[in-house]
């Protein structure tokens, strides 16, 4: 009995050493071969036609982001993906998820501890009346057609690209914080590491490579959707052109966001 166990262990040991050697060789090869190029070739294009785009701006595309409130489960995966993608300093949020709870006396309770980064794993128990409704609202940059941040930036460091993205040139930003004040949606912050303005970019660097934004990629329930409105086969086109309950945040601000919400409730600010 003991001998058979010893034999098993020695076999395991041999297998283990083989695996370590194999891993080392494979790892060394990965270091030699340019990894980036290889990666992109092997990842299928997630936004059709994007890899044919050349030049500084994306032409012939009009991007939209849709958040489906009726789907979001408040798991916080999007927030984790975003924080990992950009190494967002603690206490600042490029995206966050809010939890709305409405009681039977129509009181609205909202919270977003740590921006929802840890996921909403337990229900709120501090409420005085029975709960009648609850839902989650993910927030991110609204990529306004008339962005207040671009309007107020004194040096043009925040700009709107021809393809509709609102981006920040951190080599030009003076860190005055005027854009932080001007954004009606509070999606901006001054990055404590770079001392410049920072915010969600809808993962512009990924989109340029034909990949979906990180948060869209990881959402387990497809509550976050991204696509080209000029592509009539895209999901975002279909949602915005079919009879859905779709709205934007703070429409009276006049900023015309490109971020749309399916099932947006009047309680949401």
């Amino acid at each position: 009995m003991i001998k058979s166990i010893e034999k098993e262990i020695s076999l395991d040991r041999r297998a283990f050493i083989k695996k370590v050697l194999g891993g080392t060789i494979a790892g060394s090869l990965l270091l030699v071969i340019p990894a980036g190029a290889m990666e992109l070739e092997h990842i299928p294009e997630q936004i059709p036609g994007m890899r044919k785009e050349i030049g500084p701006f994306i032409t012939g595309k009009k991007f939209a982001f849709i958040v489906d409130i009726t789907r979001c489960i408040g798991c916080g995966s999007c927030c984790v993906a975003d924080k990992n993608e950009y190494q967002v300093p603690d206490g600042n949020y490029r995206t966050w998820v809010e939890r709305y709870v409405i009681d039977d006396k129509d009181n609205v309770y909202v919270d977003s501890p740590n921006g929802g980064l840890d996921g909403y794993q337990k229900p709120r128990k501090d409420l005085p009346y029975p709960v009648r409704d609850t839902f989650f609202v993910p927030k991110l940059c609204n990529m306004c057609e008339h962005p207040s941040c671009v309007q107020v930036c004194p040096v043009g460091a925040t700009f709107q690209t021809d393809d509709g993205f609102v981006l920040i040139d951190d080599k030009r930003c003076v860190g005055c914080g005027y854009c932080v004040q001007a954004c009606p949606y509070s999606v901006r912050f001054i990055n404590p590491k770079t001392h410049t303005a920072d915010k969600c970019t809808w993962c512009y660097h990924r989109v340029r490579k034909g990949l979906l934004p990180a948060c869209v990629n990881v959402c387990p329930v497809q509550a976050r959707k991204f696509g080209d409105l000029n592509d009539h086969e895209s999901e975002v086109y279909k949602i915005l052109h079919q009879p859905h309950v779709v709205s934007v945040l703070k429409p009276d601000m006049g900023n015309k966001p490109s971020l749309h919400y399916v099932g947006l409730r009047r309680e949401v600010v």
Partner: protein
């Protein structure tokens, strides 16, 4: 549970601040920036009351007001530079400005105003500077040579030209001073995302509060300097300044209250959040301090000093105390607008808290230093530009 108690619990629980709104980005430095700029604009207006509108009783402070404005103007950008994340890129605002930005114009307006103020001082002081150049030796002589731009010509013809230039500069200086501070108000008033700031009254309130802070600063420092140096105080001048201070403060205080009243009366969907702000985090600094103590008392006090016949001693003593209270009132107003506006989250469901640090980059110690620097510069300038006509060698020579 009683309904009242339930409501209280509900209010406490609904305090939701957007995660990025927990941090107050514009802190003490941005409180000081409009405060200093306002003092500059207000002091210039005092000088112009004599130079343009020929209010003769203000002659004793007409030149001092200009130097006082210059001392503060020199440090108006200091808090901004300390605040910027990248001060080394500050000049980009003037080199590559974005034309749509309400902030991008500041560099130009500030610089143009600085040029007008410096030229005004050099031309008004020219006979004095020429006389001082003749009296002085060494480095001071060279300094006066530079300040007179090398010209000793004090012929009646040359002085007439000087006078025309100073009248012109003072005349364009008034709209520029108004633009400078009205514009600073617009930097806040143009932020539509902030319901507390976004009111067309904001530039008006900023401009009026600038005027009162400038006049109050002149009264307070004039009396203090004269008392300290043991020189006589021109009571006619003080009484006139108090009347102007009262007049401007009536407008200022009324507009400040009208702004609040408009918000309350219209009671749009923003009002609930604004009201919670005023009765919550701003209760002590706004309702009690700014309005209750530092507005109501000077409002009544200045009225009494202006309307009732009182002895010189009482007018001087209370004029100085009330002027100091006005200076505090304006500082409180800047705090309540700049900090208060940011405490209300754009979620309109709650407010953040803010306590300034003592030793941080934008903290209390740095703020105190920034407020001392203009006073130190004013002392240095007094060594070059005599503030008062009775110390002026040119005046002595003319009268001799």
């Amino acid at each position: 549970m009683s309904p009242e108690h339930g409501a209280a619990v509900a209010t406490a629980l609904t305090n939701f601040v957007f995660p990025n709104d927990l941090h107050v980005h514009w802190s003490l430095m941005i409180v000081l920036y409009p405060y200093i700029t306002g003092i500059v604009a207000g002091a210039f207006i005092v000088s112009s009351l004599y130079h343009v509108f020929h209010i003769e009783s203000l002659k004793p402070v007409s030149r001092y007001a200009l130097i006082f404005a210059l001392a503060f103007l020199a440090f108006a950008t200091a808090p901004l530079l300390i605040h910027l994340g990248h001060p080394e890129r500050a000049m980009n605002m003037m080199l590559t400005p974005s034309p749509t930005s309400a902030m991008a114009g500041f560099g130009y307006i500030y610089s143009a105003y600085a040029v007008v103020l410096i030229l005004e001082i050099l031309f008004i002081y020219r006979p004095t500077l020429v006389a001082l150049k003749q009296k002085s030796t060494g480095g001071m002589k060279f300094l006066y040579y530079l300040l007179t731009l090398g010209s000793d010509n004090l012929s009646p013809e040359a002085l007439r030209v000087d006078h025309k230039i100073t009248a012109f500069l003072a005349a364009i200086g008034i709209p520029m001073a108004c633009t400078l501070h009205g514009y600073v108000g617009f930097i806040f008033g143009g932020v539509k995302a902030n319901p507390m700031w976004a009111t067309p009254l904001m530039p008006v309130i900023f401009l009026l509060s600038a005027s009162v802070s400038g006049i109050a600063g002149i009264i307070f420092s004039y009396v203090l300097i004269k008392r300290y140096t043991g020189k006589s105080i021109d009571m006619d001048c003080i009484r006139t300044l108090i009347k102007f201070l009262w007049g401007c403060f009536i407008l200022d205080f009324v507009f400040e209250m009208l702004e609040l009243f408009s918000h309350a009366y219209m009671a749009t969907h923003h009002w609930e959040a604004l009201r919670d702000l005023y009765v919550g985090p701003l209760y002590w600094s706004f309702i009690v301090a700014q309005v209750g103590i530092f507005s109501v008392i000077p409002f009544i006090g200045l009225g009494i000093l202006s309307l009732v016949k009182l002895s010189d001693k009482i007018v001087m003593k209370w004029g100085t105390i009330l002027s100091f209270m006005i200076l505090v009132q304006v500082l409180l107003m800047r705090w309540n607008v700049v900090i208060g506006g940011q405490l209300m989250s754009k979620s309109e469901r709650g407010h953040a808290v803010f306590h300034p640090g003592w030793f941080t980059k934008e903290g209390i110690i740095v703020s105190i230093i920034i407020m001392i620097l203009p006073i130190a510069l004013l002392w240095l300038l007094s060594k070059v530009f005599p503030f008062w006509l009775d110390d002026d060698p040119a005046v002595e020579r003319q009268s001799a």
